[in-house]
Every structure is written in C-alpha cells, then in structure tokens.
C-alpha cells in the first residue's frame, strides 16, 4: 500500500489513510482511477492530432505529385513521339522546380526541429525525387544517348563536372561529408568504404567507355569503302554505340545506389541535412552558371 500511494503522487499520511472508512477508501481509489483514465484519454487525443498533422503533410506532397502528373500528361498527349528529348527537357524543368521546393521544405523542417517521423517522410520524398530523375534519364538515353551524356540539358558549371551524363558520386560524397559531421566512428568507416567502392565502380565504367572510344576509333580508321565491307563496318559500329546506353544507365544506377546506402548509414536527421546540403550545392552551381553567363566583360 505504501508504494502505490507514492506512484500516484498523492502525499498521503499512511495513518490518515488507514483511519478512513472502507467506503471512503473505495471512493478515493475510484477518483484516482478516473484521473488516470482522463490522462490516458488526453494522451491519445494528442497522438491523434500528431498523426493527423503528418497525414496532412503527406497529402500535400501527394497533391503536388498528382498536379505534376496531370500537367505532364497534358503535354505528353500533345507530343506524337512520347518520351522524346522535348518531353525530357520539359520534365527536367519541372523536376528542378520541385527540387527547389523540397530543399526549402527541408530547410524549414530542420530549422523548426520537427520530429523524426516527419523528417523521415521528407527524406523519402527526396530520395524518390532523385529516383524519378534517373527514370527520366533512362527514357532519354533510349531516345538519344549522346544528348544525355553530353549534359546539354544541364547548366554550364554542372557540365564542367560531367561524368557519364551526371555528377561523379564519389565526388558528391566528398562534398557532403563535412556537412554531415559529427559522425560516429562506425558511420565514418562505412562512408569511407562506400566511397572507395564507388570510386572503383567509376574507374571500371570509365575504362569501359575508353575502350569503346578506342575500338570505335580504330574500326572507323579503316577504309572499307567497298560495298559489303562498309555496311558490315557501320553495322558493327552501330552495335558498339548501342552499348553506350548501358553505360549511361549503369552510371545512374551507381548514383542511385550511393544515395540509398548513404540513407541507410545515416540517421534520419543526418540524411535530411545531407539532402539539404546536396540540393543547395546544385542550386549554387546553377546560380554560378547564370552569373558566369551574365558577367561584365571588356569590350574587344
């Protein structure tokens, strides 16, 4: 009896309690029970409010996505050859807009110190957004792989860092790492291993493309102007060039996998900071491209 009185927090003098009639004791117990139930109801109500708020954030995101899909559909149906480069350029412009919104949302959420559940959703949205980009690029690679890997669809400074149609994932890890501190020793080790594996895959793909260039160049250097041989030579060259699509896809696959593993290694909060840092980095590069284009120059 002594311990139960202390848990409830009433300051009861045991002697006083013991002197009460059984009916009074029963009534006091019922009061305590009622108070406990009331507290539980209040807790449940607050939890419901939190859940509803999260659902609202989720619905807002779904609305944005639905609107995007509708506007894409409208444009898509007016283009006779579907997933062509024109469609890609339009979709990419939308993608950049949406990216900008997500970056602003991440910034706001981190500054406001929102809970992990909401942050987790924002991180998932960010990762899905990048996955969408890779899907779009895969379609563009089918339509015109040279256009894609030339980076014509990116700003000038982004193109400066180009590696097989995009950024080098190991280089992006270098950009991100200082922004993610403090990391545990375990996390540090895992990120370093990831970066090393990434570099190894990048090297392998680079060597593959170099070989493609060399063998193509060698085969084109031969003069096969006599009828049949020319056709064979060109057919072999075309088969070689078709291999480029695989390289573009594998490079994007590497980018996606790197993001996936980073999200696995980091806590939700770190992942949110990472996505914010990455988005801001790209925005800065784009801004730099604009400033470079508009810079004052000496008249010649």
């Amino acid at each position: 009896m002594k311990s139960s009185v202390h848990i409830i927090g009433y300051e009861f003098e045991l002697e006083k309690y013991a002197s009460f009639s059984p009916q009074t004791q029963r009534r006091l117990a019922q009061n305590r029970e009622a108070a406990r139930k009331s507290r539980l109801r209040k807790k449940a109500y607050v939890q419901q409010l939190e859940t509803s708020r999260l659902k609202l954030v989720q619905l807002e995101q779904e609305l944005v996505r639905a609107r995007q899909q509708v506007s894409h559909l409208i444009k898509y149906t007016t283009q006779p050859n579907g997933a062509g480069i024109g469609t890609f350029e339009m979709e990419y412009a939308h993608w950049v807009e949406e990216q900008h919104k997500q970056v602003a949302e991440l910034r706001r959420a981190l500054q406001a110190h929102v809970g992990d559940v909401e942050l987790r959703m924002l991180v998932e949205n960010g990762l899905n957004h990048y996955a969408n980009l890779f899907r779009m690029k895969a379609d563009a690679a089918k339509a015109d792989v040279f256009y894609l890997i030339s980076g014509k669809w990116r700003t000038s400074v982004e193109r400066f860092f180009l590696w097989i149609g995009g950024f080098r994932p190991s280089e992006l890890l270098n950009v991100l790492l200082p922004q993610l501190e403090p990391l545990t020793d375990q996390q540090h080790a895992e990120v370093c291993t990831l970066r090393q594996s990434c570099q190894q895959v990048e090297d392998a793909l680079s060597q593959g493309i170099e070989r493609l260039q060399q063998t193509l160049s060698q085969s084109m250097a031969l003069d096969q102007s006599i009828g049949g041989s020319y056709r064979v030579q060109m057919a072999a060259a075309i088969e070689k060039l078709e291999g480029l699509e695989s390289f573009a896809n594998q490079a994007d696959h590497l980018r996606g996998q790197t993001l996936h593993h980073m999200a696995r290694i980091l806590t939700t909060r770190q992942a949110a900071r990472g996505l914010l840092a990455l988005g801001e980095y790209f925005e800065r590069l784009r801004a730099l491209s604009s400033l470079w284009a508009a810079r004052p120059r000496e008249p010649t």
């Binding site: 392998a204 060597q207 070989r211 493609l212 695989s246 594998q250 696959h253």
Partner: protein, 101 residues
C-alpha cells in the same frame, strides 16, 4: 556450363562488349582476375547466348556480361555493381581468392 563450376570467377562475354571489359576491370581493381569467356569466339556461341538470356531474364540488358562465382550465376552488370556497393561482392569472392591467378 561446366566451365563455370571449374573456376571461382567466370565471366561470359563477347569480344566486342565494352561493358564486359568494364566488369572485368572492376574485379581486377579489387584484386581478383576473372576468367573471361568470349561466347562469340565459341562454335556453340549461339546456344550459349540463348541459355544466358534465359538466366538473365527480362531485366538484363543483354546476355553478357554474365558473372558466375563458384559455379553459381550472380547476375549481370547491375547485380555486380549493387553487390560491390553493399560490400557483398568482396564477401562472395573470399572463398575463391586463394585460387585466383
């Protein structure tokens, strides 16, 4: 595919396939030298190609590269790249490392 079960790491390739070369370079970069088997140089090349297409399934970009570790089909470029990033590839190669040239 008797070839695959004799050696630790076998990659079925084509002499013209540059992605096969890339996968070869990846393995060499991590310290193992795969046995490269060019199916276009084999008289039964067509049959092998058909068999590899079946193994790879609808998702594969082509019959080659087809990577076998310990006689077991591991997949193509996609699967090998994913396995390397997750750290699984090095683990899978460990029992065969000593037998590599």
């Amino acid at each position: 595919m008797g070839l695959a079960s004799e050696n630790g790491l076998v990659i079925f390739s084509k002499s013209s396939c540059c992605m096969c070369y890339a996968v070869n370079m990846l393995f060499q970069g991590i310290g193992v030298k795969p046995v490269m088997y060019d199916i276009d140089q084999d008289p039964e090349g067509r049959e092998m190609e058909k068999a590899l297409m079946k193994l790879g399934g609808a998702a594969a970009a082509g019959p080659v590269p087809a990577v076998f570790i310990g006689g077991k089909f591991m997949g193509s470029t996609n699967e090998i790249m994913s396995a390397h990033l997750s750290g699984q590839l090095v683990q899978m190669l460990k029992p065969f490392h000593h037998s590599m040239s």
